[in-house]
Symmetry: C2
Subunit: 208 residues, 2 copies
DNA sequence: GCCGTAGGCTAAAGCCATTAGCCAGCCGGG
DNA sequence: CCCGGCTGGCTAATGGCTTTAGCCTACGGC
């Protein structure tokens, strides 16, 4: 009986594979059975590495939220042309030039929207995990993406007392679009990319 | 052993009760076990009235879609002052002038948005059913709500080649907002009603 | 080389949907 | 009025799921 050499990390990775392999329903279908099968291991063996299905799902959700946040941060960073410096420059605001280009005020917002949809289309299961109840129960990290949107909204120069409404509007519109797209809610064959561009354009125009 | 007097209809009604009783997760948690328990009947007895769990879920989804469509139709009808006919004047906009006023071009859109959110908040489980994969697989009726949005968008007087994008934008924004609200995605305590008003305002302004 | 731990296993229980087969209550015909 | 058939309930059993308990062996430090 050679050992499988599992670990909490390895189980988590396998669970992510299951989520990815399941398409849009990969998150909903994530269970210990699938993970064990993929690990080439009997189901109860997993309990040596994870506390149970809820814990595993929570861990997967958390990891997806973190990954998603990193992706969004990278998107907004590269959209602001701070991509000149190489590594370790986590200071996205370290740029000494305070001027934001005239049209660049909305660049962060567009980058966030595009990155969100790209992530959701590339990893539908993970995106569902990010938006899951398990993820929102974590709470802490979920606020990070809202914070990113808030910073992007702040660059538009609108009054502060509208920020909350604007952040909610942006998140709702982008999330709703992606959600409908993933569920196949867009019946007509018309170009979905164009529709998303229209949505983002409408948003940046409406919020300015 | 007195008979329970079930029927396909009765089982469907009980399933809807289960969905309603389960809150936002009522749709996800809908199973034969809960329905049978509520009916005071053993689980296999249900198979005399429904083909199985997938069929029951499909039937529930279909019924919710129809109900939702009717609610939206009523909302847009009463918003256009067509409520002059019988009694039950729920029409708060009982304005007798039949011509669509200048700003009334967006009334249908606002009515649709408000009615959607009201329905989702009043019946979270049913709303989830409406947006479920089972509902979209039905397809036919799902197009009806899109058609309603299309008619409302058409009243804005925008060029025809934008209609598809605009319908998608409206559906995405409203659905995304409601979805985030149901999942508890709005962390801050700020007024959610005001945020929704802001979203709708932004939409009608952006689409005009 | 040995021994303890830890990581695999099987067995078993409880929940779920589903199928098969039984049995009684109701309705219509004689 | 009685009786037979159908229909709608039931129990039993199957297979899949998570979870717990308990065993057993492979691996690493002494």
């Amino acid at each position: 009986m050679p050992r499988a050499g599992l670990s909490p990390q390895a189980v988590l990775d396998l669970a992510l594979d299951v989520v990815d392999a399941g398409g849009p329903t990969g998150w909903a279908d994530l269970g210990l059975s699938a993970v064990a099968h993929r690990a080439g291991v009997a189901v109860p063996s997993l309990y040596k590495h994870v506390a149970g299905l809820p814990a595993l799902r929570a861990a997967v959700a958390q990891r997806c939220v973190v990954e998603f946040t990193v992706v969004l941060e990278a998107a907004v960073a590269s959209a602001q042309g701070t991509c000149g410096s190489v590594g370790a420059s986590t200071g996205s605001e370290a740029d000494p030039s305070p001027r934001t280009g005239p049209s660049s005020s909305a660049q962060a917002l567009r980058a966030l929207a595009d990155a969100t949809r790209a992530y959701a289309l590339a990893h539908p299961g993970r995106y569902r995990a990010v938006q899951s109840t398990e993820a929102t129960l974590l709470g802490s990290q979920s606020a990070a993406v809202a914070e990113l949107v808030a910073q992007a909204v702040a660059r538009l120069g609108t009054p502060r007392d509208q920020w909350v409404d604007q952040v909610r509007t942006v998140r709702a519109a982008v999330h709703g679009f992606v959600e409908l797209e993933l569920t196949g809610g867009f019946g007509l064959p018309d170009d979905v990319d164009a529709s998303f561009r229209y949505l983002v354009d409408t948003l940046v125009a409406g919020l300015s």
